[in-house]
């Protein structure tokens, strides 16, 4: 049993329409790599050329914005829920 990752609509074309995927990973950077193995093309949509999170992507672990945690180094465990959410909303 891995970590559950919630996939937003703009990414579902890459995840074969799955709105949730499960991956084995110990931190968010590993999670992105693990997702890339299952769904090639997803990594470049999330990570920019400097290796950081793209400007308009927010990732939450159990509802907390990872920018308040350790960014892509944030550790995750099997019971966590990770949510990928487009940043362009609200206001």
């Amino acid at each position: 049993m891995g970590v559950t990752v919630r996939i937003p609509a703009p990414l579902r074309r890459v995840t074969n329409d799955l709105d949730r995927v499960e991956v084995d990973a110990e931190n968010l950077a590993d999670m992105v790599d693990a997702m890339e193995e299952q769904f090639p093309g997803i990594k470049e949509r999330l990570i920019d050329e400097t290796g950081g999170l793209r400007h308009f992507v927010n990732i939450y672990v159990n509802g907390e914005d990872v920018q308040f945690l350790q960014g892509l180094d944030t550790e995750i465990k099997a019971s966590d829920e990770v949510s990928i959410v487009p940043a362009v909303a609200g206001g």
């Binding site: 937003p8 949509r45 793209r54 400007h55 992507v57 949510s83 362009v88 909303a89 609200g90 206001g91």
Partner: protein, 407 residues
Amino acid sequence: MAFASALKCRECGREYPTDPLNVCEFCFGPLEVVYDYEAISRVVSRERILNGPLTMWRYQDLLPVDGDNAVDLQTGFTPLMKAPNLGRMLGLDHLYIKNDAVNPTNSFKDRVVSVASTKALEYEFKTLACASTGNLAGSVAAHAARAGMTAYIFIPADLEKGKVIGAAIYGPTVVAINGSYDDVNRLCSELADTYPWAFVNINMRPYYAEGSKTLGYEVAEQLGWQAPAHCIVPSASGSMFTKIWKGFKEFEDLELIPKVHTHMHMTQAAGCAPIAEAYEAGVTRVRPVKPDTVAKSLAIGNPADGYYSLKTIQESDGDATIVPEEEVVTGIQMLAETEGIFTETAGGVVISGLKRLVERGAIKRDEVTVAYITGNGLKTLEAVEHTVKPVTIDPTTASFEAEVLSA
């Protein structure tokens, strides 16, 4: 007649059809409406605008709607008032207040929601929804009522009473969330992927945001077809700030006004100033904050248009000002006592921010300056309740003389 031809990603330039979409599938960048400006320039003129309705819909050629069936509560064309008393106090000869607190639901949000709800009907949505810091809640609920749509309003649970009741009265489902606006916004982004609803500030956002351009058009028209030298604007997500600027630039490009030399000044309250802090630090990446401010309508810790607001500041040679929390109420009082306009906390941020700008020499006495007042003070009574002391007396002359005149 519609001149909106596509949606385009502001980051990577990919184009999309004009569908209910807000995010680029490839890079997650924001989608913005593309217009056929050549076609618009053949139609639009000062005369055509002057002959239009006395609402924001006089600028329909520059709004992304298809037909003539706007969901219209008669929003816009609000007063641009000369503010001689406040001007004298601050040392400005040409200060104006754009009083957008007198819209149908008492905030500028009616502009964006009028466009968003009109689009929602075009797309045949049955349900209108939003994540709100307060003003949007009332506006979405009212427009849904007018349009015969179902409404779901999501707000942080700590919102001022006036904003909660002011939304609930129109009959929507009001959902208060235990969390900040940013939590509400995240939840709504997830719900927007699941339910076939028009979330005005999520899947309708490219259209919604365009409504704020009318705050630029109107001020330019009301100043006799010219943009002001300075605009002072409150910011939460930063969207309105960028769109006022866009409005001026479009009018300039369409030769409706001369070249624009406006300096765009953003104001935020100290308890939630992520964009202004990025400006001060000289970085383009806005670091989110956990809001703790009396200006709840500006309490967005992770502002969607922060990056583009910083670009607007740069393009317009403007700046950003952080207003200390204790000056928010002072600003409200200053405007009320000098010009007879009672604004909510965001307006207090604007007036105190304006004062700071003048004090540091960013605005000169003879320059045309417009302060944007975007919400009504009756919605945030809690913020100022402690500052007023009405006197109660017996109905006698003696009591009046003793308790009032001699007090």
